[in-house]
Amino acid sequence: MPLLEVRNLTKCFGGLSAITELDLDVFHSEILGVIGPNGAGKTTLFNLISGFYPPTHGRVIFEGKNITGLKAHKIAQLGIGRSFQASTLFLKLTVFENVFIGFHMNYEEAAWKSSLHTRSARREERAIRQKVLEILQFMGLVDLKDQIAHNLPHGHQRILGVCIALATHPKLLLLDEPLTGMHPEETSRMLDLIRKVQGRNITIVLVEHNMDAVMQLCDRIVVLNHGRKIAEGLPKEIRDNQEVIEAYLGTEEED
């Protein structure tokens, strides 16, 4: 059984349909790339899966459970984490605090105990602070933990976005253009990190424009164009797919 099944998913904004009758499977522990020209509906797909918009038609099934139309925080609680396209962080807070907030769901002590700072709540908080450091260590940001997120260079901000998502202990992680705006060195570092995350048994779906990176990194690729799936397969199959080449090269030449 796939981890995530998208069935007949359609999303219309007014009269325009951003996603049309999309079927998609994501399997355990794979890295699935979603590519397509600008406006193909990739980010809309992420917003539908993570519950930011309700779909017009169709279903999203996660671990066999229908999650269509659930609120974003519910979907996060079920184990779907995501990072955003831009530097969507808590920019005024430190790197440490950013990830600390990410652990919101991991508290077992009641909120009132946490507010009164009872002994057990303090013990729990210490343990979580330790876990924050572990994530920062794992992702190589531990030296920057006291920096304000706003002051980080772009590449580190993107990594921090992934750290925050990891704090929610996702089973499925959606990464929205994790490599945009990175120079080659940062890109290869990010690719290593994404593989390391996959190594923790986390399934990854990523939207990305950097073709070389997608071909290198992904186990499978899905190509969207105008909200429809036009191809699906292994990287080498996609590379040689005539329709994909036309969709891509066609629009790129028009630009």
Binding site: H73, A76, L89, F90, L93, S115, D143
Partner: protein, 335 residues
């Protein structure tokens, strides 16, 4: 570690502040000035009520409405139901909180401008209801509200005894709210305020946490209302108009909106004492206050407490030690 050091520092500072406030009546003998201090205390409670919501990214224009609910329910519970003040005080907080819960179920769904307008309208409606209902005293209000019952030898007659009572209420409130701010509840509020859609993907239920902030904020206003009723011993609906809510905002903004606890204290102190010392007549005062608000928003949006940082006295006072961007500390010290 540094965290613990900071905690001891804060504890020492609070202890010092507490002792100064507790010893103040020994120095200040004038009942009038003690009265101003008591008013400051009430205003601090209201400003904290505003700040709680602000910390969760919501701006309320209606704290005076929930203040009124606390004041009226406490007065009625004591006068009509014959309860002791010490029971009606928490009940006043609870009733303001309950009203906030019911109203909040609807209005918290639309944060932003809608929330601002709706809280203002609720404030107006509460004042209208209090004025229109005869058994609540109508527009003439309620007179002859009794003093708080004595506890053993402590009788609530002198201004000083009220001063200690409001100081005690403030300390309890501040401690409780500080506890919440420094816990995961406060972190969730901050997350919602800073980047709501990211907060959502972290599993934070925006609706519930906003509602929680609204209820707690209204409880604080309600408790302040109960104290106010039994201190002034008379109530009339006009005291609780939206005008008062705007004043409450100014207390918080003047002190510094990002200083959820000290900001309200400083702002309320200034706004309560300065007009009195300047002996501004009641007619001109609102104009002056409006001027202060406009000037603040334009020139000092961070409030008085943001001044040291703005003038560069500290580099990043509370948030971090290093100002360097992106360079790990280990690489900074080498050269």
């Amino acid at each position: 570690m540094s965290n613990q050091k900071r905690r001891t520092k804060i504890t020492t500072a609070l202890f010092l502040l507490g002792s100064i406030l507790a010893l103040l009546p020994l120095i200040i003998k004038s009942p009038y000035q003690i009265h101003l201090l008591i008013m400051t205390g009430i205003n601090v409670m209201l400003a904290i009520s505003f700040s709680i919501l602000f910390s969760a990214g919501l701006i309320t224009m209606g704290p005076a409405g929930f203040w009124a609910i606390g004041a009226y329910s406490s007065a009625l519970l004591v006068m009509k139901a014959g309860l002791s003040f010490w029971l009606s005080l928490p009940l006043a907080g609870i009733s303001a909180g309950l009203v906030a819960l019911i109203v909040g179920l609807v209005i918290v769904r639309n944060p932003g401008v809608a929330f601002i307008v709706q809280t203002m309208v609720i404030n107006m409606i509460i004042v209208q209801i209090l004025g229109q209902l005869e058994f609540l005293g109508g527009w003439a209000g309620i007179l002859g509200i009794p003093n708080p019952n004595s506890i053993g030898p402590i009788r609530f007659v002198s201004k000083t005894s009220y001063y200690y009572l409001i100081l005690f209420l403030l300390l309890v409130t501040t401690a409780g709210i500080y506890g919440a701010y420094s816990s995961r509840v406060g972190r969730a509020w901050r997350a919602i305020k800073l980047t709501p859609h990211l907060a959502e993907t972290l599993g934070i239920d925006l609706y519930r946490y906003r509602l929680l902030a609204f209820v707690i904020s209204s409880c604080v206003a309600g408790i302040a209302g109960s104290f106010y009723a039994h201190y002034f011993r008379s109530l009339e609906p006009g005291m609780f108009s939206v005008f008062k809510s705007i004043y409450v905002q100014i207390y918080s903004i003047l002190g510094g909106l990002n200083f959820y606890l000290i900001g309200p204290v400083l702002g309320s102190l200034i706004m309560t004492f300065v007009p009195e010392f300047l002996r501004v007549s009641k007619e001109i005062e609102p104009i002056m206050t409006g001027g202060i608000l406009i000037a603040l928003v334009i020139f000092l949006p961070g409030g008085i407490l943001s001044l040291p940082e703005r003038l560069g006295f500290f580099s990043r006072p509370l948030l971090s030690r290093s100002r360097q961007t992106g360079v790990p500390p280990s690489e900074q010290g080498d050269h």
